[in-house]
Amino acid sequence: MSSSTPFPSGSIARVTGRGVAVRGDDIDTDRIIPARFLKCVTFEALGPAVFADDRAELKPNHPFDRAEHQGAQVLVVNRNFGCGSSREHAPQALMRWGIRAVVGESFAEIFYGNCLALGIPCLSAEHTAALALQAAIEADPALELQIDLQLLQASTPAGTTWPLSLAAGPRQMLSTGQWDGTGQLLANDRELLATVQRLPYLQAFAPAG
């Protein structure tokens, strides 16, 4: 299925929605979106192809295929999620399927940055909290989770909470709506010129003068 929720925009202080758990360490971006789906010049069609080979292997029991998880917005994973290829197609595919926040024990750096650039927070949970959250989702797929970037916790309407962490920088960028940073980078033109002028390799290695 494809997402009917709007893509992230503006300030992101919390994400509320049902969860979907994908268990396992070191799930790489080739598994999130196999390379054959990268033959495209737009990201538009990627949503249905997310986890394509894993889903085919487990058909029809992969969490992304199970009826009770359709429309889920919070993905809960384990360690080193998103390792391998830098392809932004991976978070794009997750986003277009409907994911709006990822909670995991740890993330590969490029994947984490790619998610941030799309306004999808990746929050960390301790091992036991991640497992408990996954178990809670599997026990009750209709459970409405709230991922709060200010309180740094996941919570249920019944009041169960799990602590999460998110570095101060990404947290501020998301909550102020400045996660899409091109504008910020264009604001420092004078400083950029000064950098160009002090780098010898951009000045034909001529002595500074």
């Binding site: 010049v41 080979d53 830098s86 010898p200 290695f205």
Partner: protein, 469 residues
Amino acid sequence: MSSGTLYDKVWDLHRVAELPGGSTQLFIGLHLIHEVTSPQAFAALRDLGLGVRHPERTVATVDHIVPTTSQARPFADPLAEEMLATLEANCAEHGITLHGLGSGRQGIVHVIAPELGLTQPGMTVACGDSHTSTHGAFGAIAFGIGTSQVRDVLASQSLAMGKLKVRRIWVDGQLQRGVYAKDLILHVIRTLGVKGGVGYAYEFAGPAIEALSMEERMTLCNMAIEGGARCGYVNPDQTTFAYLEGRPMAPAAEAWPSAVAWWSALATGAEAVFDDEVRFDATVVAPTVTWGITPGQGIGVDETVPTLEATEPNERPLAAEAYRYMDLQPGTAIAGTPVDVCFIGSCTNGRLSDLQAAAAVARGRQVAPGIKAFVVPGSEQVAAAAEAEGLDQIFTAAGFEWREPGCSMCLAMNPDRLEGRQISASSSNRNFKGRQGSATGRTLLMSPAMVAAAAIAGRVTDVRTLLKA
């Protein structure tokens, strides 16, 4: 916190500004693009009404989707054709140099930038490709980025980044005969794990590293990302300078002395402080082969597939999944494992010295019956140099196919792929499930010489036994 390392110095030199939110705006000295991760970035620029800030600092080539049999246009695959046509149109519109098919300079982006002299010490290098870490071999700070960041570099020649910690990987001793940089990096990743480098830049140093050629250093840094480290680097030295001198985009003769002086001053000094250090002994590294589904699941060719009991408790679920997927039994020797396909190439091991090492094994021997074996040079320049010394003849006489340059079966975005449950001996960088184009295909990573040995024997074989013969 690290200080005085090459990473610290290059970071400081390229720092444009501190951004609200705590990240640093970092100037990007060299931006490389290819057909897979750039089209959406150009489309985003168009949507934002932005141009390319420094088109002369971006260089393009086509590598991932090109066929390696016939490269005649239009490609048989209309999607591949559309991707290349889009790259051509974007480069033409924005005044970006594209090293296209037949230019004599086309090839895998991480092969051509070094051979053209574009990659130089002290630069920041970014590309929408995780193996950008390759360029760290020159003492550059080089890392992979996503497509939104490609857009940012095109628009501003800079990126919002967080500073990494620095771990020195110190390697004493020397690699033994039949053991290559590929074996060393597989050994490092096996030891530190695929997550061990997350948050770090890896500085490779020590006598074993200093003895490596530039091409070997590229192999090493290429796979830093497989250990979780977004960038890896080697301090520039005489080996670096000798490689660069006279290359088309290297500093001209009149600038050369000041370039070398600047590069030399960037190297990590004796007073440098690291966040962490790990020591290795090169003399104990054996030809290394992966048996599982991550590059960290590697063993010496003379070892057995590890048992669950011998595996760290939190690595056991992945090991169990790997046994199942690979259909390899714990406790059995990896040597002797039959293979179906042998692939020599990729940004890890598609350079001239890689082909020379493989050809030395293939010379005068024959690929075993039923084995598909093929060699894909990393670039048009590598292909020409290999053909000039007759390597193509050695390979074809031995029963290998000699192909056109590209990424090929490393990730199988072109027609080169595994079928069904085929198992490959591959000189590439990733043994992930489904990586080589079949959802059930299996990959054993190893050095190019080991791939050649596997092709001759039809099974995983210790290349040292063939080198002695």
